[in-house]
Symmetry: D2
Subunit: 328 residues, 4 copies
């Protein structure tokens, strides 16, 4: 293993854009329930940030005919890291282009994953500077925790569905320099991978799409930092008619505390309590879960992730097959 | 409504005796995992108490051929209350007898519920006095929190299965003076009742036995007082091979935080986090849940109580019907 | 000990009226930060309730020249209990009068404590009925948890300062039938008592006024039910410029989790996390703390309650003595 | 800013050796109360690890005449990073030597900080492999959480006292490549710095020694990952006669939850709840606290860090100056 392999090139997930057929419902969810600040409104899009998100926005909500992820952007650890990653992507597959058209961010390299997701890499990000009345006394906090709903701190990670997990893992390892912290194998087939290059348990996860579709989103996760807040959030969602899919509980994979719900537009959102395992060892060995261990892997407590949605529903939804029950 | 109806006659659940076919496993569960103190050992029985249980014991474990509850005893709020309750029971049904043969307790009135459970009423209870080295600096705490496992504080409540809930509720209301705080109705049929005369959400609950059996135990609950400890307990149970049935989550009924497991002998045990609603209004009106509200009633979070066990399994187990799956 | 002594006659603290010289600040504190609902506005007064308070209001904020408690009212467990308690008060001291002029409550007996506090007893209280949009799916919850600030559930208890604690205790024991659960003695002098007749650790506490003043308020406490929420509240108070006096920590006395702050008008308010010890034994023996045990009594964690405020400041404030430092 | 400046060269704090004049007391503290596993005993030393520490040991307890830190070792992110860091240290100051004599670790570079602390850098670390009965079902967990006391997960960070903070910061920035995330300035003087190169808020902190001594330890911190466990720990320490200095509360600096105690040998130990801020931005700008902001910096809740110990006591203790009160 060479020195380069230990180098952290991807800092974190900087922003995600979601499409929603119900923009009013989706904005009510993120602003009124999850306490995100609106920082800009332009055309069919609204830009939002959690009170600890460092940049101008971490979530862009755009009206569209169908719930789906438009794109997600990872920030590199330096301008040179961006150049290295783009060169690797270009060497690996031809698709990709530089753009520079998003509010609050500079030049950005857009590319397509082997399964067809739109992703981006960028270095240039404008730091958010709070106006006087939103400034927090806690100096590492870019803005005050608002008094609205149960405010999430920040965007945390991305979980993608893929028709084939292995090419995704290979591409993210090779071109982005991500480390595979944990994986699930079902016989010979990779059923899921959890990847990061930071100390987080994952910045990006990829799970097998049981519907066989390509390029779909499983969920976007937002960070509370406190497990109790996922319990509080479940109570809020219950009383304000947001469908809870599963949780609060704790995954064995990543040891993180989770709560899954569907925002009114139909995208699955995870509320993430404490971060679970922090990967401090630079030579952390990939943990591989087999199907006989999967009960502990999916939940340490009593949760059974619902087969009819958790492993089949993603956005954009795909038409159900004739004989199938379930949400999609 | 008369003055007498507001009188609290039953103080709390003082003790439970469980039978187990696996006494070593059951004692390991209660002592090593749940940190209960052993206070006596006699014949086939071991007497245990949590570190905040006020008397000599709250749980007696007795070896026996089948997992079941031998009896449970409620303590009255005064000697006179005991007399009043016994007179009422005697007026209501002939079965019952005074005994005085349990370590740490005085004269006790044993009776049988309409569904056949063995229960007792008593006033005389010997207070536990800790030896010097077990004395806590926290004066309301009868003994130090031990350093073993994840210690429960004390016995909390009892949940009984009954072939017919309504006669149980009638008897407990009339003869014990319990208040029905919440109930579930399935059309015309009472499916469950949660009763207390204290500020607790329930000292005794009764749920319909889906197997139609008589006199069974659903679960005995022990109190942590802190929701996080049910999360910690789930992790402990997972890694020490105790089957988790459901939770941690929070019931809508009673608002209490729950975790259900099976002790190695087969009895279902609930770990109870924070107490949920405390009933401060003396004229609290019974809340009635209908089946269209039952999702929130059973869990505020995403838990689906497992049909194949939660509503059918009790102790003693009954033989499964030919076409049925499930634990019993 | 007679049967009567075990009878619970006082159900709970139903309402408190506070005066404030800064009504806008005080209302911002209770409504915007603590998420209380406003249920009425009349003259110089605003009526508020927490989302689990059972009646029309639990807190009345009235503009006045100086921060102080106007009165506090306890609800009895039955109409007959009210009659018995009033007869006892009348036999004990001549002052007192029936009134019937408060919104949402019926006839009320007003009396004066031996130290001069205005208190009331009542039975008739109008239950709050939420309009459709504020109704909770959790049936024991009288209204939805609001999305504003960090909402408290309900009023919890009252802590009074007294120039002499013992006559207060004697009066509350004799005339109200309260049980003294815990007390602090400083040599021969009672320095504090914590009293209830319910399972709560205290509905009313009385502490010695180090300034020797009569009839002052130490604090009014509001209930979260979850210890984490006192941590969340401390962070909110810090960033929104509310002075934190002490906490979050846990008292040894009552085992309850506390956070003390001053509302903008100057009254001390306690945010109460989990309830601490629940007194299930009807014959609970009073725990007496001596001054050598007081460190554990005041805080289980590292908090030192600040001498210059906690033991001397109350409302109404009294002029400082010439040589003294401190908040008053 | 060059590419190299974003490179993470120091992975984490791998191990600490403490000296204690009371080895029985110190081992009881770490094993019985904090649930650390003993992995080796040799001469006057015992080697311990928390259940999530990845290597053979993270804490070595050695009998000695006075409480102090013998040394602390940081692990680099790669073998090449070790070489680069050693070359930089050697270029910067002449002292330092390669050794290879510690159980479970390979060749190690020992050096002395500008203030005289003994520190080490290493890459080679033997991973801990649990025997069958200690293996956890949670695959990222190197061993089962034990059933003893309130087990910490792992070693977290180091806080050093220094007679002069600035040379320490300069040396750690220049030679170890650490990033200064937060600092406190008292006029022109640096009073404290919190440094890491990972996403943790700090691996090493340095605070001004108010006694002016050189090369002392302020504290070693161990990680729970859950804020509630610091509350649980405070209760345990209180009842088992461990002196609590301050907390549980949350620092504004780093946003981390803290509890400070003194182990029986006299070294200050921090129990660390949730990790506080995770530094995801690679270009995180150092936050500088001035003395007028220090109240929020030291604690978000009501804690006043005790002047007479927190800012003056360190190990080894130094003789008190004639006019001074306090612990040392």
């Amino acid at each position: 293993m060479s020195d380069e392999q230990y180098r952290q090139e991807i800092a974190h997930l900087a922003r995600v854009e979601l499409h929603t057929p119900d923009p009013d419902g989706t904005l009510w969810f993120f602003k009124d329930l999850l306490g995100m600040y609106e920082t800009r409104r332009e055309g069919q899009s609204v830009y939002l940030r959690g009170y600890e998100d460092p940049y101008q926005w971490s979530l862009k909500i755009t009206e569209g005919p169908v719930a789906r992820m438009d794109h997600a952007a990872l920030r590199t650890t330096s301008p040179e890291a961006l150049e290295r990653r783009v060169r690797s992507l270009q060497a690996g597959n031809g698709e990709g282009a530089w753009t520079e058209d998003e509010y609050g961010y500079g030049k950005t390299y857009d590319f397509t994953t082997p399964d067809g997701h739109h992703m981006s890499l960028l270095w240039e990000a404008e730091k958010y500077r709070a106006p006087e009345d939103l400034r927090s006394k806690i100096l590492s906090r870019p803005s005050k925790k608002p008094l609205q709903g149960l405010p999430i701190k920040r965007l945390d990670h991305l979980n993608l569905l893929a028709s084939d997990v292995t090419p995704m893992r290979n591409s993210f390892e090779r071109h982005l320099g991500l480390r595979t912290n944990e994986r699930v194998v079902d016989g010979e087939v990779e059923a899921g991978v959890w990847m990061s290059s930071s100390q987080l348990s994952h910045d990006v996860a990829v799970m097998r799409d049981a519907r066989g579709a390509r390029g779909r989103l499983h969920h976007v996760a937002f960070y509370y930092g406190v497990q109790q807040h996922t319990v509080d959030a479940a109570e809020m969602f219950r009383d304000y008619d947001i469908t809870i899919e599963a949780g609060p509980d704790r995954h064995g994979i990543t040891q993180s505390s989770f709560l899954y719900v569907f925002e009114p537009g139909g995208n699955r959102i995870e509320l993430f309590g404490d971060p679970g395992i922090l990967i401090l060892e630079p030579d952390f060995e990939t943990r591989t879960w087999t199907m006989d261990q999967i009960d502990t892997g999916t939940a340490i407590g009593g949760t059974n992730l619902p087969q009819e949605t958790y492993f089949t529903y993603g956005t954009p939804p795909v038409p159900p097959e004739p004989t199938e029950d379930g949400a999609s």
